[in-house]
Amino acid sequence: MLGAVFFASPPPRGNIGAMTTAAPTVEAFSREAAELRPLLKAVAASVLHVAPEHPDVDDAVSETMRRAIEGRTRLRPGEPLRAWIVGIVKHVALDAARSRTRALKRQANDAPVESTRDLAARIPDSKPSPFERTARTQELERLEAALGALPDKQREAVVLFFLEGLSYVDIGKRLGVPMGTVATWILRGKKALAASLSAELGRRSET
């Protein structure tokens, strides 16, 4: 009887084993994410329009790391960590910038406390409206047109980098051109494609 109870309950060793298996995953993830810290700092500073040493930048980066580590299971297989974590820091920094603007406005105007209706109106709708969907479709059409307007090799380099996930060096080998040429093509391609996008699309397309 006692034996049955003992074996029916999960053995403590199993839990310890599960923790030790999970721990390196978190550790490895944290290490990889930490390597991106300088880039995250740069993005946060850029979004917040402050010097990289500003405390708000550190706060945003720390919050990003926390969210990334907590939500690491949401990172889909094959999805690049860099793009995913840059998306997080962008949102965190934008939230911080909005909070700062609201606080400044409140201080400047000595504004009355917001009503429930005002607060409710500020809650973003998770689904895009028909107008937003139409605007997004038009923007994506412009993006496709801009991509189509790139010279063949340049377009190929952009597609191989952004959609196939190849490195500049590998793209250079595949297309038979120096890596510096690939870097230039991708830089020009990004500029052309970014010009076809509004800042709004980048924000909305992540939702």
Binding site: A42, A44, P52, A83, M179, G180, L187, K191, L201, S205
Partner: protein, 167 residues
């Protein structure tokens, strides 16, 4: 072929060139350690790096979304059985042809009869609806009609969602 940017490509005076910062923003290990340290310690280069990383991120997200949507639209286009529907239409036309041809001589009669038939049919429908609503099954009829309307609305919403842009 070298795997690193040359000094000329990397530097633009005291600061990093846009090309070098773009490589860093894209996570490419193609600049030397000195340039990397500079990017982290120089406020101006850090801010430019952040801007380029954001630009790269937005372009990447939009391109992946565009690819996803174009795959979806191709799937949707392939999903509709155009040939089967056309074949069914042809078959129906062939089968119905004799009956339709038989009715051709009566078309003129129908044309004259229709203006008289429409008011009669309408008043019959109104009378029937009133009788049903007044009777014991009135509530049931309203309920069934509402349910049918809701179903039709749901079907239309589903159809428009599957053909529209998804988030």
């Amino acid at each position: 072929m070298t795997d690193k940017l040359s000094d000329q490509e990397t530097w633009d005076g005291e600061h990093l060139s846009e090309l070098a910062l773009s490589c860093l923003a894209d996570g490419q290990d193609v600049i030397d350690a000195v340039a990397r340290v500079h990017a982290e310690s120089c406020a101006e280069c850090t801010l430019r790096l952040g801007g380029l990383a954001l630009e790269s991120h937005d372009v990447g997200v939009a391109l992946r979304l565009a690819k996803k949507l174009s795959v979806q639209s191709v799937k949707a286009a392939h999903g509709f059985p155009t040939l089967l529907v056309a074949a069914a239409g042809v078959l129906a036309a062939v089968c119905g042809a004799p009956a339709l041809l038989e009715g051709v001589p009566h078309v003129v009669d129908w044309a004259f009869a229709a203006p008289r038939a429409v008011p009669i049919l309408t008043s019959s429908f109104v009378a029937l609806s009133k009788a049903l609503a007044a009777g014991p099954g009135g509530a049931a009829v309203s309920l069934v009609s509402t349910f049918a309307l809701a179903l039709v609305g749901y079907a239309v919403a589903r159809a428009s969602r599957s053909t529209g842009v998804t988030s």
